[in-house]
C-alpha cells in the first residue's frame, strides 16, 4: 500500500466518504427517532420499516427540487458555497487513523494541525453563502458564524494541544498509540485531559453549530440562518455538512481523548466506531434538551471561561510532561 500512496489514499477516501455520507444521512433518521422518543412521539414510522427509508426519500426529493438563484444574489459564490462547505468538512478526515497500523488515508506528520485548519476553513463557505444570498437573515447568520469561529477556534486549538503535549506528536496515529492499553488522555493524567475533553466537545458543538451554540442557524430568530435562500440539494449539502462536522468532531474527540481504537479485548475499528457514535448520540441528546445562548453571552463564555481554562489545562499538561 505504501508503494502506491496516491492509489491507497484515493481508494480509502472514496470508501470513507461513501460510508461517512451514509452514516451522516442515516444519523438524521436516528436523530428524528431519538428526538421523537424524548418528546413522546414516534418519529418517522411510515416510510419503510420504522421509517428507515426516510433519509433516502428526503434525498430523492431534494435532488428533484427546482434550483433557483435569487435575482440579486451573487450567483457564483451562491452556487459554489455548498459543495465547498462539504469539501472542507470532509477534508478533515484525510489524516484520520481508523485502526492500528497503516489504516489512514494520508499519514501526515502534522495531521492534527491539518484537521484543525481545514476544519476551521468551513467558516469561509458559510460566510460566502450568507453574503451571496443577499438576504438579511442569511447575512446576520454569516456574521454570527464568523464571530463564532474566530472566538471558538482559540479554545479548540488550545484543548487539542493537551494530547499533543502529552503524546509528543502532531501525528494522529501517534496520539492514539500513546493512549494504548487504557492510558486514555481523558482519564490519565487526572485533570487536564478530562477538562480538555469536555472543553473540546463544547467547542466542537460551537464549531458545528449545534445547540446550545447554534446561533448562526437560529431557527426562531433567523428563520434558517445562512441557508435561508438555499433549496434542493444545495440545502441538502449544507445540512449534510453540518452532520458530517458533528460526526468528525465526535471521532476526533474519541481518538484524541478516549483512546481511539484502543479498548478491552482486541483493538480495532469497532472500538473507535463505538466511541465515536456514542459521543455523536450524546451531542443529539444535548441538542434536544437545551435552549440556545444569545450571541454575546456565548462569546463571553468563550473568552471568559473557555480560553483561560484551556490555557490552564495546557500549562498543567506541560508541567506533567516535563516533571512526571
Amino acid at each position: 500500500m505504501t508503494e502506491y500512496p496516491w492509489l491507497w489514499g484515493g481508494g480509502f477516501a472514496l470508501v470513507l466518504i461513501t460510508v461517512l455520507m451514509g452514516v451522516a444521512a442515516w444519523s438524521i433518521w436516528f436523530e428524528r427517532k431519538f428526538a421523537g422518543r424524548m418528546q413522546n412521539r414516534p418519529g418517522p414510522t411510515q416510510v419503510g420499516p420504522a421509517g428507515l427509508l426516510q433519509p433516502l426519500a428526503d434525498l430523492l426529493k431534494l435532488i428533484q427540487k427546482e434550483d433557483i438563484t435569487p435575482t440579486n444574489a451573487d450567483s457564483f459564490l451562491f452556487n459554489i458555497a455548498p459543495p465547498l462547505g462539504l469539501l472542507t468538512v470532509l477534508g478533515g478526515m484525510a489524516v484520520y487513523p481508523w485502526a492500528p497500523g497503516d489504516w489512514v488515508p494520508a499519514n501526515l506528520n502534522i495531521g492534527i494541525l491539518f484537521t484543525l485548519s481545514i476544519g476551521s476553513l468551513v467558516t469561509i463557505p458559510v460566510w460566502m453563502a450568507g453574503w451571496a444570498s443577499n438576504n438579511k437573515y442569511a447575512l446576520l447568520g454569516a456574521m454570527r458564524a464568523a464571530a463564532q469561529a474566530v472566538s471558538f477556534e482559540v479554545p479548540l486549538l488550545l484543548t487539542c494541544l493537551v494530547p499533543i503535549i502529552l503524546s509528543g506528536s502532531f501525528r494522529m496515529g501517534d496520539i492514539v498509540e500513546a493512549q494504548a492499553d487504557g492510558h486514555w488522555f481523558a482519564l490519565w493524567p487526572p485533570g487536564p485531559g478530562a477538562v480538555a475533553f469536555v472543553l473540546f466537545l463544547l467547542c466542537s458543538l460551537a464549531e458545528a453549530n449545534r445547540i446550545p451554540f447554534d446561533i448562526p442557524e437560529a431557527e426562531s430568530e433567523l428563520v434558517a440562518g445562512i441557508t435561508t435562500e438555499y433549496m434542493g440539494m444545495k440545502f441538502g449539502l449544507f445540512y449534510l455538512a453540518e452532520y458530517m462536522h458533528t460526526l468528525i468532531a465526535s471521532f476526533m474527540g474519541a481518538s484524541m481523548f478516549l483512546g481511539g481504537w484502543d479498548g478491552p479485548g482486541p483493538d480495532g475499528l469497532h472500538w473507535l466506531v463505538l466511541k465515536g457514535l456514542t459521543l455523536y448520540a450524546g451531542i443529539f441528546w444535548i441538542r434536544w434538551t437545551f435552549l440556545r445562548y444569545r450571541a454575546d453571552q456565548f462569546m463571553a463564555i468563550c473568552w471568559r471561561i473557555f480560553v483561560p481554562v484551556s490555557l490552564l489545562t495546557v500549562t498543567v499538561a506541560a508541567f506533567w510532561r516535563v516533571y512526571a
Partner: protein
C-alpha cells in the same frame, strides 16, 4: 408533594427599570434624522416569521445586531370582526368572538355574553356561574401551556430543546382539549355560552376526567420547571430581558400577567369579581422585577393557582338550572334592550373587555372588543430599542400575543 421551583421569586435585577431614552425609542421620529448615512440595516421581522406568534410585523432598524428603533405594523389578520358583529344578532356573535383569541375561546365567549347580560339585566343561575368559572380556569391552564411551549421554542428553536418543551406542553394541552371536547363537543370554538347561562351541562364522568387531567398537569408543572426554569441558559436568556416599567405599562393599558410581573397587584377576578369568583379565594401572584423571567414565574404561578381552582371547583358545583332563559337557536330570537355596557373579564392575557352599544333590536349597534394583546404589543417600540435581535424574540414571546386578538 414536591414544590415547584419557580414558586420562589428570583432576585430582581439591581437598579431601576431602564426607562426609554429618546430619541432612539421615539416611535414617531423619522430614522432619517439620526441615520442620514443609511448605515443601519432595516429588517422586517414578519409578517411571516417562525417566532412572531402569527402574522405580526415589526420593522427594525439594526445597528449590527442591536436594535435602534422598532416600528410595529399590526393588522395582517384584520378580519373586521367588529363590523361583522354589527351585522349579526346576539345569538350569532359568540361563535364569532371565539375566533378572536383562539387560544382561550371560552373566556372570549364569557366576555361578550356577560356584556349582553349586563345590558339586558339577566340574572345567571348559580350553577351556570360555577360552570363558567370552571371553564374559564380550565381554559387558562390550556392557554398558559401553549404559551410555555411557544416561549421555550422561541429560545430553543424548532429543532432543539425548545421543541422538546413544546411537545411536552402540547401533550398536556391535548388532554385539556379532550375535556372540553367531552363537555361541548369541540376541541376549541365551543359556542357553549349563551345569554343567561350555558348551553351544555357537564356530562357524566366529566368530574373524574377533569380531576385526573389536572392532577397530572399539576405534577408535570414541576417537570417543566426542572426542564426550563432550572436551566442556566434559560435564566441567562430571560433575566433582565424586556423589563417593563409599571408606569408605562399602566399608561399603555397593559394588563394581566405582564402588569403583575411588573409589581402591580391587580386582578379583575379578585378586585371586581364576576361569575362565581366572588365566592372563591384567589391568590394573585405578583413579581416586581418586570422582566421576562418574572413573567414566566407569574404565568407558572397562575397556572398552578388555576389548577387548584379547577380541582376545588369540580366537586363543589351547585345543582340547579344552567340557563336563565330558554336557550335560543334561531338567530333573531333574542331581542336586546337599548343601552350601553362595558364588561371586562380577566383572561389569560389580561383585561378582556366588551364595549357594546345596543339600540333595542336583535343586533348590537356597535361592539368593540378590548383585547389585552393589542395593548401589550404597544410595548414593543419601547422594549425593542437597545436590545439584540435575540432578545426581541424572547421579549415578544414573553408578552404572549395572540394575533387574532391584536388585529381582530
Amino acid at each position: 408533594m414536591a414544590v415547584a421551583h419557580s414558586e420562589e421569586a428570583h432576585e430582581a435585577p439591581a437598579g431601576p427599570v431602564p426607562t426609554v431614552v429618546r430619541p432612539w425609542a421615539d416611535p414617531y421620529l423619522d430614522p432619517e434624522t439620526y441615520d442620514p448615512e443609511g448605515d443601519l440595516m432595516v429588517m422586517n421581522l414578519g409578517p411571516q416569521h417562525p417566532s412572531t406568534h402569527g402574522v405580526f410585523r415589526v420593522k427594525l432598524w439594526l445597528d449590527g445586531e442591536v436594535c435602534v428603533k422598532a416600528v410595529p405594523y399590526p393588522g395582517y389578520l384584520h378580519r373586521g370582526v367588529e363590523k361583522l358583529c354589527e351585522k349579526l344578532t346576539y345569538v350569532q356573535i359568540p361563535p364569532i368572538v371565539d375566533k378572536n383569541d383562539y387560544v382561550s375561546p371560552y373566556i372570549n365567549e364569557l366576555a361578550v355574553n356577560m356584556a349582553f347580560e349586563q345590558l339586558n339585566a339577566v340574572e345567571v343561575p348559580r350553577r351556570s356561574q360555577y360552570l363558567r368559572t370552571l371553564g374559564a380556569e380550565m381554559q387558562r391552564v390550556g392557554s398558559h401551556l401553549l404559551w410555555l411551549g411557544t416561549f421555550a421554542m422561541d429560545m430553543g428553536g424548532a429543532l432543539g430543546g425548545g421543541a422538546s418543551a413544546f411537545m411536552h406542553t402540547f401533550r398536556e394541552r391535548e388532554t385539556i382539549l379532550d375535556c372540553f371536547e367531552l363537555w361541548t363537543g369541540a376541541r376549541f370554538h365551543y359556542n357553549t355560552l349563551t345569554v343567561g347561562g350555558s348551553r351544555h351541562d357537564v356530562p357524566a364522568g366529566f368530574a373524574e376526567m377533569v380531576r385526573r387531567t389536572y392532577e397530572t398537569i399539576r405534577a408535570r408543572t414541576i417537570e417543566y420547571d426542572e426542564l426550563i426554569y432550572d436551566n442556566a441558559i434559560f435564566r441567562s436568556r430571560t433575566e433582565g430581558v424586556g423589563r417593563v416599567d409599571a408606569k408605562l405599562a399602566m399608561e399603555l393599558g397593559v394588563s394581566g400577567p405582564i402588569l403583575r410581573a411588573s409589581g402591580i397587584d391587580w386582578d379583575l377576578r379578585r378586585d371586581r369579581p364576576y361569575a362565581a369568583y366572588g365566592e372563591l379565594k384567589i391568590n394573585v401572584p405578583v413579581r416586581s422585577a418586570g422582566d421576562s423571567l418574572a413573567r414566566y414565574e407569574v404565568r407558572m404561578a397562575e397556572m398552578r393557582e388555576s389548577i387548584r381552582l379547577v380541582l376545588d371547583l369540580i366537586d363543589g358545583i351547585p345543582e340547579g338550572p344552567i340557563c336563565a332563559l330558554k336557550p335560543v337557536k334561531l338567530p333573531g330570537a333574542f331581542k336586546g334592550k337599548a343601552g350601553q355596557a362595558y364588561v371586562a373579564v380577566d383572561g389569560p392575557r389580561g383585561e378582556l373587555g366588551t364595549w357594546v352599544i345596543a339600540d333595542g333590536t336583535e343586533r348590537a349597534y356597535r361592539l368593540k372588543i378590548r383585547p389585552p394583546s393589542y395593548h401589550a404589543m404597544a410595548l414593543i417600540p419601547y422594549l425593542a430599542p437597545g436590545s439584540t435581535l435575540s432578545d426581541i424574540i424572547v421579549t415578544l414571546g414573553s408578552l404572549d400575543p395572540i394575533l387574532g386578538e391584536v388585529d381582530r
